[in-house]
């Protein structure tokens, strides 16, 4: 600042252009700071939820969920609706994104586990709902991609995932995730084409009849391996028509229909041919 002093402070300060230049500088500074800060606050859905998003979620909750789960998510026992105060954002993301929630008709759909319904909520709305429910208590949050993405695993990792899958999942979901029957009309759905994020959420939140597999029992690294195994085993080419992929039941059916069926036709053909020497 020496040159300012030597050249005469007073003259510079009193320069005709001093005020407009200072104004322009300060405006620029404000603009720059705003530009740096403003986007960070508007995209906070991926980070810590902000008040605005929670408020939006609360409104959506009041309209779509509160009739069964209560205005403060405390649950209504007579509706069979559980309290959602400690389920976390992952449960909301899973239930709403897969069309399980909100239920069309709780009295008929509860038995069918609310499957097969189309999700009509946008990503923003689901994020807001999840943020609101997450703000009510504890519970697993919506996962980030590095928690579930099966990219970059070695062949041995995926094979190990298969072993883990057969130990933990195939009893209900079948050896390649085709699904299976559970008592009392419930089913373990097919997970052959399920989104990896939803598999992660299902493990952590235990929807419906499914038990919770917490990260203490199966860390994220192992979940990734299992997800990779299900993806790859279903992408493996089959040795011919898979006949429904239901195991020996469909094989036996086709042995009779295609095998014995065609051979009986051949026998009839042979028997109708006389001796034409």
């Amino acid at each position: 600042m020496r040159f300012l002093a030597s050249a005469g402070r007073q003259s510079l300060r009193r320069h005709k252009a001093a005020r407009p230049v200072l104004l322009a500088l300060s405006l620029f500074l404000v603009g720059a700071v705003y530009a740096a800060v403003a986007p960070a606050t508007t995209s906070s859905a991926e980070g810590a939820p902000n008040e605005q998003l929670i408020a939006q979620g609360k409104d959506l909750f009041a309209v779509n969920c509160a009739s069964c789960h209560g205005l403060n998510a405390e649950g209504l026992a007579q509706q069979g609706a559980p309290a959602l105060t400690n389920v976390g954002g992952a449960a909301v993301d899973f239930q709403v994104r897969t069309g399980r929630m909100p239920m069309g008709n709780p009295y008929t759909q509860a038995q069918g586990q609310g499957q097969g319904k189309q999700n009509t909520f946008s990503d923003d709305e689901i994020n807001a709902l999840a943020a609101y429910v997450a703000s009510l208590g504890t519970g697993p949050d919506v996962p980030t991609e590095d928690q579930y993405s099966p990219d970059g695993l070695s062949a041995e990792d995926v094979a190990r995932g298969g072993d883990l899958f057969r130990t933990n999942c195939s009893a209900c979901h079948n050896f390649k995730g085709a699904g299976g029957a559970l008592p009392n009309g419930y089913v373990a759905p097919s997970i052959e084409n399920t989104d990896p994020a939803q598999i992660w959420e299902a493990l952590r939140t235990g929807p419906g009849q499914m038990p919770v597999f917490a990260s203490g029992a199966i860390p994220d690294e192992d979940v990734k391996k299992m997800i990779a195994y299900v993806e790859q085993v279903n992408a493996t080419p089959s040795a011919g028509l898979t006949l429904g992929g239901l195991g020996p039941v469909s094989e036996g059916f086709w042995a009779w229909v295609a095998g014995i069926g065609s051979l009986v036709l051949a026998a009839i053909w042979i028997a109708t041919r006389g001796a034409r020497a």
Partner: protein, 559 residues
């Protein structure tokens, strides 16, 4: 001391003579004569012109025979590569999704056979499909023999041999299913382990004897391998030979028809007609097995994974022929006794061991029970049309219905998921259906048989329907009937009418009399010669009579 007698030097026995040289009639006979002189070829081929009757249903047993040949051929290929060992190894083959996984050598060699041996997967799949066809064709063949009464005297023993073949085929199939040591077959072995242990008192000892200790141990795969490739195939081969030797000895049964009697057979000679037909059919069966192996995936063990007693999968089922046992166990309530520190698992023993025993016993004794009920001691070489033995046909369909219900129950989870019904609902339904459906099936089948008998009588008396509607001068309408050929009339009327035995207190007791009455009752009487003659006269009068009868509403006339 005895001395040898003196030999007359002029005796012809002292002369050295060469046997006269045999001249063969033609050049080709040379080798044949050579063989005949050594192994009696002519006698061996005495049956070469044996006559067999022609009908498609007589070829069902051949499908089983040819499947067995295919199984032997493909099985030899598989034994070259398969290692029947339960030693644990780490997989290092080409199938990436198993790399580094610990597994038995049996499973590792199955993966190797499927992925690294040229044609291995194809042969494995042909072998498995041929096994499915083998048991299925045996079942179909057995049903044909049952419904046509071909098991009657003198063929009861051959029927029992057939039942033995059938039961052994189930064991053979199960042993083969277990060999790859994959997750499904291991679960199946665990199932059989449970069956063995459910045998009261001695179950645990039998288990330890079979498995060489606790399940799964390290012995069961090598033992099953021996059973699968040596013991049972040997028994099957022997029984098949006996089965076919008896078939030649008894001669084949035939359908009744003009000129066909209990003492002759109408058909074609084995050589050359059946050599060509049966040979051709072998290639067709082989082709079907290959096509199925090539285009239809079966038992993809690489997806199931290696067996690990800590793992299980939804949709664990045996191959179809063991499905009825699986189903019976799935639907049986949990009946169990706990006495003096022991467990009596009736819920496993009755539906598992008991049902299999019941099936094979019932099949084996049926020919004798039926003969006892009907008092029939004569030989039968002409087949029954199923409708002419309504009670037997009804019993057969009832048995099929019971088997079918148990079978469906074995896939109760698949039924639940595929048809969107509750697993419990399927199970409760089947508990009732296994008892009710066979009874309904018997009643319905017997009624259908009797209706078909009535339609036969109708056909004999009034001829076949022509579909031509005739209008009489009075305006009445009637359908013209064309008389059937005498040959067809004979075929429709030659069957014997069953007569109920009358209880006499000695050979025929009250129970036997009642069963006999039940067996014979309801049978529609065959038209008598007088009725047929009267009907022929009636037909000769022509359609005008029919029309007049219709017109005047005369219902006293039978048509």
């Amino acid at each position: 001391m005895a001395k040898p007698a003196d030999i007359n030097p002029s005796s012809p026995a002292m002369e050295v003579r060469t046997p006269p040289k045999q001249e063969s009639p033609n050049k080709l006979a040379g080798p044949a004569t050579w063989v005949d002189e050594r192994i009696g070829l002519a006698k061996l081929l005495g049956n070469i012109r044996k006559v067999f009757p022609d009908h498609w249903s007589f070829l069902l047993g051949e499908i089983a025979l040819y499947s067995f040949v295919i199984l032997l051929l493909t099985g030899v290929f598989l034994t070259i590569w398969f290692k029947p060992s339960m030693t644990e190894v780490e997989y290092t083959g080409t199938y990436e999704l198993m790399r580094g996984i610990p597994m038995s050598e049996a499973f590792a060699s199955t993966l190797n056979l499927s992925f690294d041996i040229r044609g291995g997967l194809l042969v494995r799949q042909i072998h498995h499909w041929a096994a499915m066809l083998f048991v299925a064709a045996m079942t179909a063949h057995m049903l044909r023999v049952f419904f046509t009464g071909a098991f009657r005297k003198p063929r009861e023993l051959n029927w029992i041999i057939g039942v033995g073949l059938f039961s052994m085929a189930l064991v053979e199939g199960f042993a083969g299913y277990s060999l790859p040591d994959d997750l499904l077959s291991g679960t199946g072995l665990r199932f059989v382990d449970g069956l063995v242990r459910s045998i009261p008192l001695i179950g645990t000892w039998v288990e330890f004897f079979a498995f060489g200790g606790e399940f799964p141990g390290s012995l069961i795969i090598p033992r099953l391998y021996m059973v699968h490739i040596l013991l049972i195939p040997g028994l099957l081969l022997g029984l098949i030979s006996a089965h076919m030797a008896l078939l030649i000895y008894h001669k084949h049964t035939q359908w009744p028809g003009p000129g066909r009697t209990q003492r002759n057979i109408q058909g074609y000679p084995f050589f050359p007609i059946y050599v060509a037909k049966a040979g051709g059919f072998f290639f067709i069966v082989f082709a079907v097995a290959i096509l199925m192996g090539a285009f239809m995936q079966i038992n993809p063990v690489w997806i199931f994974g290696p067996y690990n007693p800590a793992q299980v999968t939804a949709g664990s089922q045996p191959d179809w022929y063991m499905g009825f046992v699986e189903g019976a166990i799935r639907i049986t309530p949990n009946w169990e006794w706990h006495l003096w520190g022991t467990t009596w698992s009736w819920n496993i023993f009755l539906p598992g061991v008991g049902l299999m025993g019941l099936l094979f016993t019932a099949l084996a004794v049926y020919p004798f029970i039926e003969a006892w009920i009907t008092g029939d001691t004569s030989e039968h070489h002409l087949l029954d049309r199923p409708r002419n033995a309504p009670v037997r046909t009804g019993l057969g369909v009832a048995g099929m219905a019971a088997y079918g219900m148990f079978w469906l129950a074995g896939g109760n989870d698949i039924l639940a998921t595929q048809f969107h019904v509750s697993l419990n609902a399927v199970t409760y339904f089947m508990r009732v259906a296994v008892f009710v459906v066979p009874v309904l099936a018997f009643i319905v089948t017997k009624r259908i048989c009797l209706s078909l008998q009535r339609s036969d009588v109708e056909r004999v008396l009034h001829g076949s329907e022509t579909g031509v509607i005739v209008r009489s001068p009075d305006g009445g309408y009637s359908e013209a009937h064309r008389p059937i050929s005498p040959g067809e009339a004979y075929s429709l009327t030659r069957h014997p009418q069953p007569e109920a035995l009358v209880p006499n207190g000695k050979q025929v007791g009250r129970l036997r009399g009642r069963l006999s009455r039940w067996y014979a009752q309801g049978q529609v009487p065959k038209p008598t010669a007088a009725q047929i003659a009267a009907a022929a006269d009636h037909a000769a009068v022509g359609t005008e009579h029919d029309a007049a009868a219709l017109d005047s509403g005369d219902s006293g006339e039978t048509h």
